[in-house]
Amino acid sequence: MKDFLQTFKSAPPTAWFGMVVIAVIALTAVFAPLIAPYGETQIVGGQYEPWSDAFLLGTDNLGRDMFSRLVYGTRNTVGLALLATAIAFGAGSVLGIVAAVMGGFVDRFLSRIIDVIMAIPSLILALMLLTIVGASVASMIFVIALIYVAPVFRLARASAQSVVAMDYIEAARLRGEGLGWLVVKEVLPNIASTLVAEFGLRFCFVFLFIAALSFLGLGIQPPTADWGSMLKENATLISFGDITPLLPAAAIALLTVSVNFVVDWMLHRSSGLKD
């Protein structure tokens, strides 16, 4: 526990900034109903009302409270991005390490499937699949996870391959260890720091991807609040010189930057440990 605190104390200011922002956003997501003054889809005033005491950040195109929607949007956008990235990472890294450890046919078979996924531009693939299976939250998570399995698989496989060449893996094989032990206990800890760094980066991409899909109307469906679709719904205001519609965009940018600050720090720390 002491070590843990010590580690945090030594964090640089950028990492602290990142951690504070992430903590605030996480708390916002969890306690959204307590923080938001109005309901997520409640129409409380006129169209595009300006910032005031009653409506902290004004109202949107349908007269819903902008601040409340921003708070609820945290829950939807961040939560879904986290879930989709987690699924992509779980599947991608396990398959990647398995491919590296087993080699031969299994490796070639998995790699070719991944090549096929990578060959199609991701946004087009997503639009196509979502049109086929229909736009729902579950299908969107599935489609995003499928797309992001590919880069994670490639990264996990490449870094696992350099670990698999080590003598300690040979020692474990000769001991008679099974595939599960090799993957989880011998290889995974050695590539974990790379994967964590990639997780941070991919999380941002997925997050932007969901926002993009929502902006195109195939992501999170109205009236559910989501930062990407909020941007789209209120885009007209920008032409009147009002910065309100840019707030969801700013929130997206802030979280992305913060996650990367923290990831950079973690990566730096783990690479320092290797020496």
């Binding site: 080590m166 003598d167 300690y168 020692a171 000769l174 008679g176 260890e177 206990k185 050695n190 290797k274």
Partner: protein, 546 residues
């Protein structure tokens, strides 16, 4: 003797030199207060273990410090020029022209994209010592002097097209290109096989004598330095231990540290009687052939290893000695022949072997750095085989781990929770031994286990292995290219060349009276402490040629 030299023959003087390197908590001393004098035409040998500061000192003689290092105090004067105070331009001008450097790994030092002779001619042409045509003609002349085969053509090959020993000679020729006053040789033969090493040593010495070049010869191998140097300086942790004329130093070292370095070479195992022919050997190979793809690497290999005995498998790189280990452990399927363990045939593929067969054949690896998982603690590394093979858990497992750590002379209280990165090379290798022992095997393969370690540390590992073998009556197979190690640990020896066994039997009779020509050459090539050894060897060879 030094008094008789003229004062102006002094080429390099180093006074009270200290070099510091940047580390996590400030600056640490790498070289501390070294004085050194080198006369024209003289060869100084620098001896020491890794981290002694040999290379750092060698580079400083060229006025160069590595990144993250600085000269804290002292002076380096080369032929009247102060290398510390003078500008980088002056130093640049000296390097290559008047001071040259020969690195340990020629393969890594040549640019693979250019032909040898082009790289050779670059320095003399850039420094305006020669015209390109002159430089090329001179290169061919130097190749002849370095006894390279087909000197007219070899320069027009790329680095990957010539052998390691030839590359090292080409690099020495390159260092000679501007006829420097001083050459620094940084372990130039360490990466070579013994038989190749002899050729390179002879060529280097020949050319240094011919041009009267002064040299600093850095090595950890005392016998090699004895052949090359007029004077020897022993370094330890950046300090000078002692310095003397080669003969004096070899005959009567003064300091205890030097004596211990000398003593390592004379380790010898008590001779044992040959194994009972009727007994069932622990491991027995009969007529084993093996191939990587279509390239056959083992031809009809047969030998036995009995309980409580050590069999050394020796040979040069590419002789197939490591392949034998791979075949026994089941990583490579033999194309013919069989391997028996205590009488029953072992399956060719390790995946098909039962857990008991796997348990009884353990490996210790060459590189302790890659043999232990850096993300596991010592407790996990040693504990896993105990749990996996013997089914011990909790207290029983913990006690067993501590017992094993005691066995390898590491204090369990201090080391059990450490990770491999927090250990030294020798300690890591000990953990590797403990991991093999944890399985309670009957047979252990040691693949070049001491070649990545310093002499004194290696000697400790050899002693440990010997003691453990006695305690558990283990059968050991010891793969090595170092014949001194064979004498120190083995009962029987198997000499391999090009994937075939050329000679096998008890160590003592084979070493004192080899029958095979290759074994003879291998044994002759092992450098001895006698400074005359190289001369005698070549005198003998010339006799033999006639």
């Amino acid at each position: 003797m030094e008094g008789s030299r003229k004062a102006d023959s002094l080429l390099l003087t180093i006074r009270d030199l200290s070099i510091e390197g940047r580390s996590a908590n400030g600056w640490t001393r790498l070289v501390d207060g070294i004085d050194l004098d080198l006369h024209r035409g003289q060869v100084l040998g620098l001896i020491g273990e890794s981290g002694a500061g040999k290379s750092t000192l060698g580079l400083t003689s060229m006025g160069y410090t590595r990144d993250g290092c600085r000269i804290a105090s002292g002076s380096v004067r080369f032929d009247g020029i102060d290398l510390v105070a003078c500008g980088e331009r002056v130093r640049q001008d000296l390097r290559g022209k008047r001071i040259a450097y020969v690195a340990q790994s020629a393969a890594a030092s040549f640019n693979p994209a250019y032909r040898l002779i082009r790289q050779h001619c670059e320095v003399p042409v850039v420094k305006k010592v020669m015209t390109p045509d002159q430089a090329q003609a001179d290169a061919i002349d130097l190749y002849t002097k370095m006894r390279l085969p087909v000197p007219n053509e070899i320069g027009f090959r790329y680095p990957h097209q010539v052998s390691g020993g030839q590359l090292q000679r080409a690099m020495t020729a390159m260092a000679m290109a501007c006829r420097p006053d001083l050459i620094i040789f940084d372990e130039p033969t360490t990466a070579l096989d013994v038989t190749t090493q002899v050729e390179v040593l002879a060529a280097i010495r020949n050319i240094v004598e011919q041009f009267g070049t002064a040299a600093i010869y850095i090595s950890h191998d005392l016998a090699v330095v004895a052949q090359m140097a007029d004077r020897i300086m022993v370094l330890k942790n950046g300090h000078m231990v002692e310095q003397a004329e080669t003969r004096t130093m070899l005959a009567a070292p003064r300091e205890n540290y030097t004596k211990s370095l000398w003593a390592v070479r004379s380790l010898a195992r008590e001779a044992q009687a040959p194994a009972e022919p009727s007994a069932t050997p622990v491991i027995s190979l009969t007529g084993v052939d093996a191939a990587y793809g279509s390239a056959r690497v083992l031809h009809d290999v047969s030998f036995d290893i009995h309980r409580g005995r050590t069999v050394a498998v020796v040979g040069e790189s590419g002789s197939g000695k490591s392949t034998v280990a791979r075949v026994i452990s089941g990583l490579l399927k033999p194309s013919r022949g069989e391997i028996r363990f205590e009488g029953h045939t072992l399956k060719a593929d390790y995946l098909a072997r039962g857990r008991d067969d796997l348990r009884h054949v353990q490996m210790i690896y060459q590189m302790p750095d890659t043999a232990l998982n850096p993300r596991q603690t010592i407790r996990d590394i040693i504990g896993r085989p105990i749990e996996f093979y013997l089914g011990l858990k909790g207290r029983a497992k913990e006690e067993r781990i501590c017992a094993l750590l005691d066995q390898i002379e590491l204090d369990p209280k201090i080391y059990i929770d450490r990770r491999p990165t927090e250990l030294s090379g020798g300690q890591k290798q000990r953990i590797g031994i403990a991991r093999a022992l944890a399985a309670e095997p009957k047979f252990i393969i040691c693949d070049e286990v001491t070649s990545a370690l310093d002499q004194l540390v290696a000697a400790g590992i050899l002693k440990l292995l010997e003691r453990i073998q006695k305690d558990f009556e283990l059968a050991l197979m010891f793969i090595t290219h170092d014949l001194a190690t064979v004498k120190a640990i083995a009962d029987d020896v198997v000499v391999m060349q090009h994937g075939r066994i050329v000679e096998k039997g008890l160590v003592e009779p084979i070493f004192s009276n080899p029958t095979d020509a290759y074994t003879k050459r291998l044994l002759q090539s092992v450098p001895e402490m006698d400074p005359e050894w190289l001369d005698r060897l070549f005198a003998g060879r010339r006799e033999g040629d006639r």
